[in-house]
Symmetry: C3
Subunit: 645 residues, 3 copies
């Protein structure tokens, strides 16, 4: 089903009914509203002006739309900030991050938690039982504009409390952090600062704990909103809209408190700005978007919650990337279908109409500022019609699981130890390599049950907690571990037995030394009769096992013990295609190498092929496949769907 984001407060009231009518006429089911409207709901402290929102909900709802209401906490009004300047977040240089855009609060502010509880309670009380309301969105894009980690007085106070709760006694903290190094020892929790503005790098254990704390604060803040809503609006689902390429809090943990995970999918904006890919790739896919960006996040957030939406779908050019080309014709439809292929329940476009003022005036909508339909409108319409003809089966388990670890991303931020080491890039290498083999992939969290999978890959799991080890131990299928797995204790120390620490019980090897390479420097890995470049990272491994592949000096680069594989270097996408391809073939799974720009994804018994290329390509379908949408030749920026044989 499809939806749209709408801001009645941006448009003259006399247009609401017509807008609602046209939404329904287009075939939209859901409309999300309200998430930035605090100043219109409570223009002065304690004075509420619900009437317009009452009318908007009634107008939209009575037109047949189902309403998702956002809590307005991402944009506290000026009067609140002026009354309580302590709600502001502080940047890492110690400056308050001021009013004038959005997300100007820290999750650790006691006043802001209280004010948020108050306004969410008001919202939930007023609309919690409204018949048109089917669900809630908490806040908006937690963390957007780097707002999870804050360095102000409220954060310091909360961090000290968090440390006290975690370590109980300051000696335990000093031991965990190795504070004896450089005389960094503390006599009490009240002596601990936030880890910033130090002369040189702060203690990595200190930083990692601050990153964990910061993540916990977001989760707790969201849980507070969820509890208020559940109390006053018991039969509605609760969602939050996550972002792309954002890792500063544990989305798995936060999603545990939600009913629906959702995310905001801007494949072109991400291609131009966030995506950790080369400029050459950014250019190549500037008009289409990179073919693995949306899929990566679909797979990630499906792993966070079985029910998941795309809450905001790019409908045309965006405004916020350094460069903002228009999507190639067909891409809005392709992105929408791709979300469904990956299991989305709803795809909701952002926004109904391009707004002519303020920060996002250059962001396209389904409609233009002159109230005429824009190009995305027609592509959405086509999806509506196609969806009506094609019932979607249930999403089933993918053959491959990728273990994705937020803590790993924080740890490697703190200690990349080489300019080329980047956790997201590493995960993308695995994910893309598997997709280039034609495989569907599930993302799972560390410690998740892995039963049912044919293959598990763990790009890197530097801290192996007990729960994770148990899950790995019980898993009968092959597991491929990437470099730096087991490299640290939970306190960010090197394990006494050296890496991979406790994994040595399952995989008898020891990493005795590591090295990182500047661009251009590489070792060679000999595998499968070929030479592969090991750039970025290499490990020196001691083991009685016979290596599966060796470095240029004959030392082991890959080890296998029973069904467990260990890669002692930074694996390129090309190498992973070869290595995982060989494994997958050995497992008897079907492998279909993808040409550049072509990707497939299976949902139930349907196989979807998406062509991100600027020219037609043959669908990687079996001979005589039964095409239920499209045809064996997939046009540029188009898709085909066939039934699995």
């Amino acid at each position: 089903m499809l939806g749209v984001c709408y801001y009645p407060e941006h448009w003259p009231r006399e247009h609401w009914a017509e807008d609602a009518r046209r939404m329904r006429a287009l075939g939209l089911t859901y409309v999300r509203i309200g998430e930035f409207a605090w100043s219109r709901i409570e223009p002065d402290p304690g004075r509420f002006t619900w009437e317009w929102l009452d009318e908007a909900i009634e107008t939209l709802g009575s037109a047949g739309l189902k309403i998702v209401l956002g809590t307005p906490t991402a944009t506290p009004p000026k009067w609140l900030v002026d009354r309580h300047p302590e709600v502001l977040a502080y940047d890492a240089l110690g400056r308050p991050r001021r009013f004038g855009s959005r997300r100007h609060y820290t999750h650790s502010s006691r006043v802001y938690v209280q004010e948020s509880r108050r306004i969410v309670t008001e919202y939930a009380r007023r609309y919690g039982q409204n018949p048109h309301l089917v669900g809630w969105q908490t806040d908006n894009e937690y963390g957007c504009h780097d707002t999870v980690r804050s360095y102000g007085p409220e954060d310091l106070r909360a961090f000290r409390d968090w440390l006290k709760a975690k370590y109980q006694h300051i000696d335990r903290l000093n031991n965990a952090w190795g504070s004896v190094f450089w005389s960094m020892e503390y006599r009490s929790f009240d002596e601990v600062n936030l880890p910033h503005l130090t002369v040189t790098e702060p203690n990595p254990s200190h930083v990692l704990d601050f990153y964990r704390f910061s993540s916990d604060q977001v989760v707790a803040y969201n849980k507070m909103q969820v509890e208020v809503i559940r109390q006053h609006s018991p039969e509605r689902f609760i969602a939050h809209n996550f972002m792309g390429f954002y890792t500063h809090f544990d989305h798995f943990a936060l999603a545990d408190d939600l009913d629906v995970a959702s995310w905001d999918s801007y494949p072109q904006g991400f291609t131009d700005r966030e995506a950790p890919i080369s400029d050459e790739r950014k250019l190549h896919y500037a008009r289409a978007s990179h073919p693995d960006i949306a899929a990566f996040h679909h797979d990630l957030y499906r792993g966070a919650r079985a029910r998941w939406w795309v809450m905001e779908q790019q409908p045309g050019p965006v405004n916020w990337a350094p460069n903002n080309p228009a999507p190639a014709p067909g891409m809005v439809r392709l992105w929408t279908w791709e979300a469904f292929a990956h299991g989305a329940e709803v795809v909701s476009y952002f926004r109904w109409r391009q707004v002519p003022f303020a920060q996002e005036q250059m962001h396209a909508g389904l409609n233009r500022p002159d109230y005429q339909p824009d190009l995305g409108y027609f592509e959405a319409k086509q999806v509506v019609e196609e969806l009506a003809r094609l019932p979607l089966p249930e999403t089933t388990l993918a053959p491959v699981a990728l273990i994705y670890d937020y803590e790993a991303s924080w740890l490697f931020e703190v200690q990349p130890h080489g300019t080329g080491w980047n956790y997201t890039v590493l995960c993308m290498h695995f994910h893309t390599a598997l997709r280039e083999l034609g495989l569907s992939v599930d993302f799972v969290r560390p410690g998740a049950d892995l039963s049912g999978y044919k293959l598990v890959v763990a790009p890197s799991l530097p801290i192996l907690r007990q729960r994770t080890l148990l899950a790995l131990e019980k898993t009968p299928c092959p597991i491929v571990f990437g470099p730096r797995t087991g490299a640290k204790t939970e306190h960010f120390q090197i394990p006494p037995s050296l890496p991979p620490g406790a994994l040595q019980n399952l995989l008898p090897l020891k990493v005795t030394r590591v090295e990182s390479y500047r661009p251009g420097l590489a070792d060679t890995v000999f595998f499968g009769g070929k030479k592969w470049k090991a750039e970025v990272w290499k490990e020196w491994i001691e083991s009685d096992l016979q290596p599966v592949a060796t470095f240029s000096d004959g030392k082991g680069a890959i080890y296998q013990h029973h069904h467990l594989h260990y890669l002692g270097f930074w694996p390129s996408r090309e190498f992973l295609s070869a290595y995982l391809g060989q494994m997958v073939r050995a497992l008897g799974l079907p492998v279909t190498p993808m040409p550049e720009g072509m990707r497939v994804r299976q949902r139930g018994n349907l196989v979807f092929a998406f062509n991100y290329a600027d020219h037609p390509q043959e669908a990687p379908a079996p001979r005589g496949a039964d095409f239920v949408l499209g045809s064996p030749t997939v046009a540029a920026y188009n898709l085909s769907i066939w039934k699995q044989g």
Copy 2:
């Protein structure tokens, strides 16, 4: 006529008379003094030591030099700053910009306005009627070192007052800015902050108003000085020395209060540092300076005021660019002549003698620190001799007008919407393309009377005010509009009828979508039987008109309606040469394509050819032309002048 900048306070008193004598002997007419001398005039608060300046003026004047006196407000002394720290400007990160160099004040400081009025009054009273004094310079290089926009408490107060005066009621501001977006609504003007240190980008209307306010503050500050001087020194001209590549205030508006516009021409320093040109071009022209840089500003400031000077002319290597090569031999003479070709009344060298101490000790003068003449001295001498032989005719209207819009440059700073969009670069593309066709160009402000021109180009006019529209409407000659013209209302909103807004009445087309391209991405424009690259920016246009040129998808790229042309993309210099060349030929104007490094400029009946190349080139003169200076072959770094046939 020629002049020089001189600092008697830097040199032993016993050298003044000899310096004056040698200035006259060289043939200089004007000498500018005094503009940084506050600490020598008022060494302690209220204690004045005029005697040395009295003597300096008398010495210079009685030697036959005409004196231009600068007010010393660019460098308030330390005691003033210590007594009134609130005079300091604040940077965008909220830090005071401290004493220790120059321009350490904000135009919004009430104390500083008062102190400035006091010192200017003292100056004007003492020297306003001095027979040697012919003119004044207010302050020095307003805006230098990014000093127009300031973010301190005095600025905030003044900005709120400015907003109050502009909008009267806070609701009008909220509507104009679209504050409802992201709950940015204000309840009173006292709630509005300066638009900085926000979590993500501030509201663009908010920023544009702050930029307008900042420009207005400079204009008001200068007007205050002008009024004081006019009162006490009624028969002297008043000038200010503007800079190159600087746009943070409206130079047209400020010049309205002056008698003489002047600017400080450092073509090599600009080539190495400011000029928005490629590194390849910076290298190619490192020794000569880029051939359009001085001309661009000559044309701009002639547009600000009919009487205009070069107040500071580079006389040798400068000190302030990242790299400071010596000018190729001949360039000082060439630059001087070029200013006269463009209509300058006076060219004044900076400075008489290289000073051996402080920040500018590595900046050349006409004389070396050891009191011997430097190379520039001899080139100036040659110009003196040549000028004596060659009376210059009046400057007349150029065939082409370029509409230059400071507000456009601010608006595109706020919202470039693509990494490649830069207003100055766009204007340079038009200006250079016209000069490469051998045409002289006038810069005019939006709303200026355009009668008399054969062709008008408007690189971009995003906000079309009534006055501008009227001037355009009345213009019978062809007008070429660049992209984004009419793209915004005066409140920085998208026009309800879409761009180009009110211009649609004259030019029936509608821009329904825009896109920006990363370097390497481009669309193609088919024009004149050739393919042209449309990089940076493309527009999607709806119109019943037949397009003059099309994009690769067949949609219109250029439209013409009667004498109005609209370019729906970022035009390259090469494209503009072709397009404008065709137009100019059709208009029956003479077109003389210039070889690389050669430029011509007409003044009255004289045509000047300047060879910026490192090798001789033929002057683009008609056969049998009457050369009054130089010859048909122009040596490297040299010029020729002939009479128009």
Copy 3:
């Protein structure tokens, strides 16, 4: 002899004895301890816990190790900082540099000087007469993490005092600085600020004085520690461990108060991070380290003090460079031998064992965190065995002296006047060129006695003090001066007679103009029948002398007068090889051109050849040389030693 750095406080007490035993078994003589242990010695203000350090010293000492004790002042504990926040340094943006890593103090803090005196007195009293203690290290790596220049209130107070002492009267300061420029005049020392946060660049004389002051503060602070130690521990040597590529204080001046100069040699970390060499060279030597980096500093610090150590020798991969490759096998041994070749008394490895926690957990030691020997251990062992067989002769004077001037490095930081001008790079060009000719080089300070040398090079001496001029005047051997020599007075002004100022008495020439070039721009120098590129910098020289070499315009580029040579341009390494090679041959010194990666160094009658290349090369030894280590073919990353014929 060899040593090691050890941190007993990082390891369980029960391992100390075994560690000590293994150190001795490896053949180590010295162990440095204690320099970061303040929080363990004085965990609360005034409460001392000496017992563990007593035991550690006794355990190590009774095992036969000689102990060097570091004063712990580089890491004041948290309680001290909380009690006295004024001890913190401030960065150039005016922010305190906070607790949480190390070196969080300013040398100008009166409280910190007092607290340092107190703790050093405690250390010196307790262990000053300990029989196991042979020497002291003051603090640790003064200046590390850019901690010499501090911009806080204590620094301002101390700087004003320093200026008062230097200039006595404010008029002398105003004259020296040329404060009249831009009305920067001061009425008293209390009006002078620190030279930062100004609107544009501050007065260069102001900045240079601040840099001199900052250097003096470090020297004074160290002298305070030295005096305390000398009082309580009279018969032990005192050392400090300097760094690589660090110039913010005058190491010669500081070393005057020491008995032993030492430095911390991390050739690979420097190659990846600090070294001012091209990315191409960084890549080429990523595994071996650049072949002149260690040698440069060995020669520099031998010039600071006849007795010198490598206090910290890289033993494996480091953790602190952007990329941290492992040293090629053999490099740890090679680096150790190279230090001895250059005259080191002791080489001490950092550290005994890789520590599994805190900031340096990824820094290798001689042993791994699992208590097993790492690769460096075995290379150190080999050196121990080789040293035992090969007695080292005394170090003698090198044939060539290079005058190295800290003040020059500060002055050129303040006024590079061209992006390519870098004093360290210039010195490396001379040093490397001489080493490529097979010559050993001594670094000497300006004013040092130059007798005994065959050739002296002065890459640049911008300020020529009387003492330096006298030393130059007395020197009978050839002296080669690089560009900008004599370019400034001691107050950072251009000399009245123009550069090279007072040197004109010895070398009759005058630099009338200089210019700097962007990359790609160059003039040509004709010398020795070849063309050489003069990039970065060129001077215009007037002289009655016949030039030795000319620029493309025929003007003189090099002048020689008797035995003095002046280079009026930025000399490339290649040019210097040719020019100095010709001179050296003319002097009858043996010249042995080195192939890429090969370097020699003579110590007494032994010649050492080091092969930094990844392939074997012939040792540049005479036929039939008597090899006492290695052989005529030097393997990759290996060395040979032969007796001079």
